[in-house]
Amino acid sequence: MPLQSLDITRRSATTTASPHQRQTAEVAKLIDVSKCIGCKACQVACMEWNDVRDEIGSNAGVLDNPPDLSGASWTVMRYSEVEPEPGKLEWLIRKDGCMHCTDPGCLKACPAPGAIIQYSNGIVDFHEENCIGCGYCITGCPFNIPRISKKDGKVYKCTLCSDRIAVGLEPACIKACPTGSLVFGTKEDMKQHAADRIVDLNRRGYPNAGLYDPPGVGGTHVMYVLQHADRPNLYHGLPKDPAISPMVALWKGVTKPLMSLGIGLAVLAGFFHYVKAGPNEVEEEETEK
């Protein structure tokens, strides 16, 4: 629900300005993969706070469960057994969920006015009461996050607990994280926190440790500290240089006004042609022949 209705930077399918008299500081969730023990407390906290329950599924030969994001699972742990150097096993555990892009592909693709909203604090929020269930946001998302619920056909994803943040609380997952892998604050503070962590990781033999805040989507409001920031793909296929797909950019970019204009021009051309040339009538003598 729109709890910060004066802080809106952007709304989907809306061409005029959104109410943004009030400006708030940019926030961010920082996920330190090097501190994550994959306990899934964040998954449970997410289900509890948002009062959603996924189904009791089955085991597919991995520890990941629920196996994927869904209408009721807005965050899941992704476990990757990798050997970045031959013979050196690492078990990278990444909390997956909405990245809250500065340039959100979902919002760009959404045709329903006000179904996707970006607040000035950076949160990208779905307002499901406006969602029409077309799934265009899924095509827009470079991180493969939104999921259509089987229950109601609406699309769901992490809200970054916009309802909690609006009243000065941290997101539920942050509250539940036992190891300090998840931290939350202003984006500036989180970058500083990450910088400290990267120093520690560098010292521990991870020269390529770094912050994942991909510029291709204008930066994100969920960021990762990665041991191997040069190879984000190791982390269950985290994209290296994510950006809104050029196809989506084209579709929801220039084509939108150009085609609308084209259609309008076609109608107008006909009208003025008629005004100028008049109807194409068959002459009477011809009829009598």
């Binding site: 023990i37 899934k40 407390a41 998954q43 329950r53 030969g61 096993l89 078990w91």
Partner: protein, 818 residues
């Protein structure tokens, strides 16, 4: 617990959770703190982030703890003593011990009795037919002054240090690698890192849990680590110690309150059958100092025992009737859980009360358990959940295939409240008693456990009153002072444990000054008396509920030292001490070893510091009192004397189901010679011909034992039973991830999904390739998670020789694709 008390004096985590942040090296071995103790594990990440700590994980599996480790080292299950013995050998042979500490604070210099020997895998005094040791030679050589002899020059061949060197000289890196399967380079890497903390200013901490206790030599594994810590001078230090991580929010409280069959509250012990004389009972337990000027705290045993008897039988307990000593049961043998089911199967135990416990899932060999429970006349289950045990008679197809019609046991289920539905305290691993408050009323007819027991007691007493009986006095005379007799409150019980004055107590130095009036709560166990003027239900908890109120309910987390010793947060036994043996954090002159981690010190007139000194407060360093005050010689014991069933030094013995079929150190003595194996159970041990793989059971972070299969959220995050096997074994067996597989032992079989992983690698052991098969335990036939098999269908009935904790961690299995 059966190893820490013989070594240090008390059977508990030496330090506490928050203190782990002060460590420089953290070793998780025999445990998986990240998965089993995720909340406490935060202090590991703190130590890494803010103390630059190195983090080492030693485990057969690359666990979620290992995911965060700087160094992960694989090891074959059940071979931890070989590994740690190798570490001891490394430290001694490379001279990487903290000399001053070892000399002053351990029994390294004491001289051992001439009769002590170790040959071919056996210590002196072994009696093969009974599988028991005569331990009389495992003692110090006593001087004419009545004290143990000492050689501070370490020249005497039988001083503990020399015997230690001799014992572990066999544990060379090659021998270690051959037994454990740990590559030699990795073993040495761990040794080198541990050795860096032999200096006074750096500490290692060990964190372990059931990965050590659940072996037939579990207590000795823990002892081996405790010895490493003594050699490194890490006991009593902030960021040091041996940290037993309890698997249950209040299991520390269970042992503290004496809920094991051989214990009374506060680690007082029950008398044996023959101990009919009260004074002899006390004398045996009231230790005499083994070195001069020692505190020898167990000399206070009579004070604690008399106070306990006064708490239980009040005015009826008098000096004349030996404080009702005759009311206490006397043991003919240990009644541990394995024995219970053996006796049920023999038809000698006919009724069973099962409170907050699901033995059908928690004790090995489910088939034997079902047979035992089926022979009972009645079974009473007190639990908030419909446990598997309470439904053992129900047929659940392949998961519990019993013939209900043939089971005559009457099962009575008494629904109890959950922890969140009652007031009370929980005692965590770090010995903190933390009060908690009722969140909501229990549902339906459920009552809290105290009310259930009270109701049973009151009815029982009424029957005794009406009908008499062989000896009704202990029941009829029990004090029952609760305001609402059938619902004693948690506060009333807590006050009873703390204890109170029964008469006015005066200051020993000034008899005119009254310290406590009759009826007032005592301030601590120092005020308890052996003359019947005080009562205390558990001396160890004295100080937790005083005249100042409920100390356990305190919530001030201020931490002036920054070391995390929040003395005004809850209450820690003993006497609100946060780090046990903290006297040892200062050098013999009373100055902290590490100027940056000052815990306690001698200020010229008394001991003081940022923790409650674990010492006689006015004993100046010059008096020579040693820091391990619960021990008769005041020293940390590298040599355990006669306190361990299978020997004073830990020796590597193979699991009873060993994948290599021999013990490379001494082929004639393969497994623990002092372990108790019941007839019938021995025959059910499997061999490698049919069961070639090393099975091990464990817990997952998503679940808590067999409870959370009843909880929807936990069931969602890990819904279905699985086993873990390595990629190499999977390939050999044609198993793909997600396939259904059958895992079988000589006692039964389970079916589960296969998780195929890089995290379990085959190990090279004694010329063979050993594969591990991991069996998480959380599924059963009751609950809302997908039904599964109880994992203890597979496990063997043999326990640690000291604690009888079952060997769940090492057994033999086979795996086949279904």
């Amino acid at each position: 617990m059966a190893s820490l008390a013989p070594t240090f004096g008390r059977g508990a985590m030496t330090n506490h959770w928050v203190d782990i942040k002060n460590a420089n090296v953290i070793v998780v071995m025999g445990g998986n703190a990240a998965e089993a103790h995720p909340c406490g594990f935060k202090w590991v990440t703190e130590a890494k982030a803010h103390n630059q700590a190195k983090f080492i994980v030693i485990d057969p599996r690359f666990t979620r703890s290992a995911a965060l480790a700087d160094i992960y080292v694989p090891i074959r299950t059940g071979t931890d003593i070989a590994f740690l013995g190798g570490v001891i050998n490394y430290l001694l042979s490379h001279d990487k011990i903290q000399h001053e500490y070892v000399k002053a604070y351990t029994n390294a210099a004491l001289i051992v009795n001439e009769g002590y020997k170790f040959e071919d895998g056996l210590f002196s005094g072994y009696d093969a037919p009974t599988h028991k040791y005569d331990r009389s030679s495992w003692v110090y050589e006593m001087g004419t002054d009545g004290y143990a002899k000492i050689d501070e020059t370490f020249q005497h061949p039988r001083c503990v240090l020399n015997l230690l060197k001799q014992h572990y000289a066999r544990y060379t890196p090659e021998v270690v690698a051959n037994i454990t399967g740990t590559p030699k380079e990795q073993f040495l890497q761990v040794c080198e890192i541990l050795a860096t903390t032999a200096v006074p200013t750096l500490t290692t901490t060990f964190m372990y849990a059931l990965g050590w206790t659940q072996h037939s030599v579990g207590s000795q594994m823990i002892r081996a680590a405790a010895m490493v810590q003594l050699l490194l001078g890490n006991v009593g230090m902030p960021g040091g110690g041996i940290n037993a991580l309890r698997g249950h929010s209040n299991i520390q409280g269970l042992t503290d309150l004496g809920l094991l069959s051989n214990l009374l509250p506060g680690y007082l012990t029950l008398a044996a059958d023959k101990e009919t004389d009260y004074q002899a009972y006390l004398d045996k337990r009231t230790s005499k100092p083994l070195r001069p000027n020692q505190f020898n705290y167990w000399s206070n045993y009579p004070k604690f025992h008399v106070s306990l008897m006064k708490a239980w039988w009040g005015d009826k307990a008098t000096k004349e009737n030996n404080w009702c000593y005759d009311y206490l049961p006397k043991m003919d043998m240990g009644y541990d859980i394995l024995r219970h089911f053996e006796l049920m199967n023999q038809g000698k135990m006919n009724g069973y009360f099962c409170q907050g416990f699901n033995p059908l899932a928690s004790i090995p060999n489910k088939q034997k358990l079902i047979a035992g429970l089926s022979k009972l006349k009645f079974l009473v289950v007190i639990d908030p959940l419909a446990t598997d045990t309470s439904c053992f008679w129900e047929n659940h197809g392949e998961y519990n295939d019993v013939d209900s019609a043939k089971i005559m046991t009457e099962v009575i289920r008494l629904p109890s409240s959950c922890f969140a539905e009652e007031n009370g305290s929980l005692t965590n691993s770090g010995r903190w008693l933390q009060w908690h408050w009722k969140g909501q009323e229990p549902p339906g007819e459920a009552m809290d456990d105290a009310a259930i027991i009270a109701n049973i007691f009151l009815r029982l007493r009424e029957l005794y009153r009406k009908e008499g009986g062989a000896f009704p006095d202990p029941i009829l005379n029990l004090t029952w002072p609760y305001k609402i007799p059938d619902a004693p409150s948690a506060e009333e019980l807590a006050m009873e444990y703390n204890g109170k004055a029964l008469a006015d107590l005066t200051d020993p130095k000034d008899p005119t000054k009254v310290i406590l009036k009759a009826g007032q709560q005592v301030d601590g166990y120092g005020q308890l008396k052996d003359d019947g003027t005080t009562a205390s239900g558990c001396w160890l908890f004295s100080g937790s509920f005083t005249e100042k109120g409920n100390m356990m309910a305190r919530r001030d987390n201020s931490d002036p030292s920054g070391l995390g010793n929040t003395l005004n947060w809850a209450f820690a036994w003993p006497a609100n001490r946060r780090i046990l043996y903290n006297r040892a954090s200062a050098d013999p002159t009373g100055k902290p070893w590490d100027p940056n981690r000052r815990l306690v010190w001698w200020d010229g007139t008394k001991w003081t510091g940022v923790d409650v000194p674990d010492f006689k407060a006015d004993s100046a360093p010059s008096e020579g009192m040693s820091p391990f005050i619960m021990q008769a010689e005041g020293l940390g014991r590298l040599f355990a004397l006669d306190n361990m069933a299978e020997g004073p030094f830990p020796e590597h013995y193979e699991p009873f189901e060993t994948p290599i079929g021999t013990n490379p150190l001494h082929p004639k003595v393969v497994s623990n010679p002092a372990a108790r194996v019941f007839k019938g159970d021995f025959e059910q041990f499997g061999k490698t011909d049919k069961f070639p793989y090393a099975g091990t059971t464990y817990r997952l972070t998503e679940h808590f034992h067999y409870w959370t299969k009843h909880a929807r959220l936990a069931a969602i995050t890990q819904p279905e039973q699985f086993v873990e096997i390595g990629e190499e074994l999977a390939k050999e067996k044609g198993i793909k991830a997600g396939d259904m597989v059958k895992v079988s032992s000589n006692r039964g079989q389970i079916k589960a999904k296969a998780v195929v992983t890089k995290r379990i690698k085959p190990l090279q052991v004694d010329g063979k390739t050993i594969h591990h098969v991991g069996v998480p335990i959380h599924w059963g036939f009751k609950g809302i998670a997908k039904p599964g098999y109880l994992a203890n269908t597979l496990t063997p009935v043999v326990g640690d020789a000291n604690s009888q904790t079952p060997e769940f961690k090492s057994f033999l299995v086979n795996v086949e694709k279904v």
